[in-house]
Symmetry: C2
Subunit: 240 residues, 2 copies
């Protein structure tokens, strides 16, 4: 198996499912009539393949497509583009699952550090880890830093920005991250623990680059990024 295996649920009558599945394989890959493709390599290596069709309740089928790994370019946003693709506009088709071939794991291998890295960062090799959020949005950097210090002093391992915190006037990223990290550093010095602050990144490439620079300068040990807001590609690059 050297293709992405993408499983879709398709609403279709039994008499039509083979034709419907074949059309789906075209639409999720070359997006044009195979008869009009002049390059034989494309039909062999790039055109999607129907790998399996199985019934899945009345007038529904599970269709597994084999999608060429080369169509992703090794880029996480493009992986989403291929998996969802044009059938995301078709109400009778639903993406259920995807299996990545081993060859894909070099580029789409998941977390860089994983749970072992989190445990090492927090100095907690065995016990449960704890996490809490700085809130509410609209608070001043000083108020958030004060809350962060209380959480760190209480033994919380990871203090994260609440999901509503961004680069707002009430607590701009630069001032908030600096104030919160200083407050947590001070508590860590007195307790000997390793509470970690995880601020939330946001914005386009220019803002992200600036925020990463500011976070590094402040000595931040962890970053958060919402991939459905800032892009899967940004998450992938951050991991690298």
């Amino acid at each position: 198996m050297n293709r992405l295996q993408a499983t879709y649920r398709v609403r279709c009558e039994a008499a039509d499912i083979e034709r419907r599945a074949a059309a789906l394989a075209v639409e999720q890959s070359i997006e044009m009539p195979p008869a009009a493709v002049r390059d034989a390599r494309l039909l062999d290596a790039v055109l999607g393949r129907v790998e399996a069709i199985a019934p899945d309740g009345p007038a529904h089928f599970r269709v597994r497509l084999g999608l060429a790994l080369e169509t992703t370019g090794g880029e996480a946003g493009q992986l989403m583009n291929m998996l969802f693709g044009n059938c995301s506009l078709q109400p009778e088709v639903e993406l259920l699952d995807v299996d990545l071939p081993d060859a894909a794991l070099a580029r789409f291998g998941g977390p860089r550090f994983g749970i072992a890295g989190l445990r090492e960062l927090c100095g907690a090799p065995r016990r449960p880890l704890t996490c809490s959020a700085l809130k509410p949005q609209g608070s001043t950097p000083e108020a958030l830093a004060d809350l962060a210090a209380r959480l760190a002093a209480a033994g919380i391992d990871i203090v994260k920005d609440d999901h509503g915190l961004a680069d707002q006037d009430a607590a701009p990223f630069a001032r908030r991250v600096d104030a919160v990290q200083r407050a947590i550093d001070a508590v860590n010095r007195s307790t000997g623990r390793r509470c970690v602050y995880a601020p939330s990144l946001g914005g386009g490439p220019r803002r992200l680059r600036e925020q990463i620079r500011l976070a590094r300068e402040a000595g931040v040990g962890m970053l958060m990024l919402a991939p459905m807001v800032s892009g899967m590609g940004a998450l992938q690059e951050l991991r690298e």
Copy 2:
């Protein structure tokens, strides 16, 4: 009106809708019990407000919330974060619509050039514009450049990358964009028309920056970016 007006459809019994709407206003803004907020400014200026509740079919209501503009930080990804927010996890709530106050339009004002800019770029002040796509994915840069030249010679105004084209080995962004732009430039010189090529950007901040640089060097006049893949923030920064 100086708040975002976000309208949600909520499945709820009539007896509960006032309480449910108030809880939604909390969850879409400060995300914590108002009684626990110590800063009076937040309750006045940041806590979401229920602006209107109206029936919308059996056991459904339209709830219009006023969300503080300051919560967006003027950033398009954060605007999505605020509008969808935690209620995107609640099956009984659906975001239907949003109205932006005039004060929001400085940051969320829409296209930079708009249809007038497209017409000027293509040298077509009045007639309908035409557009076609380079495909299929998996083709070589030379094959795509040949197709682009045919489309330009046939009088197409805008030739765009098909949505499956990214930075793949078969036609890496740098080689594809250079080859296609050269082919279209050559046709434009012979026809005197102004066919424009619009390649598709993709990836995280590092890849996007590199692709924009390559496109500028090649003399590309238009760029495409899928905001739900690469992020609304990237689209907003590209516009700026």
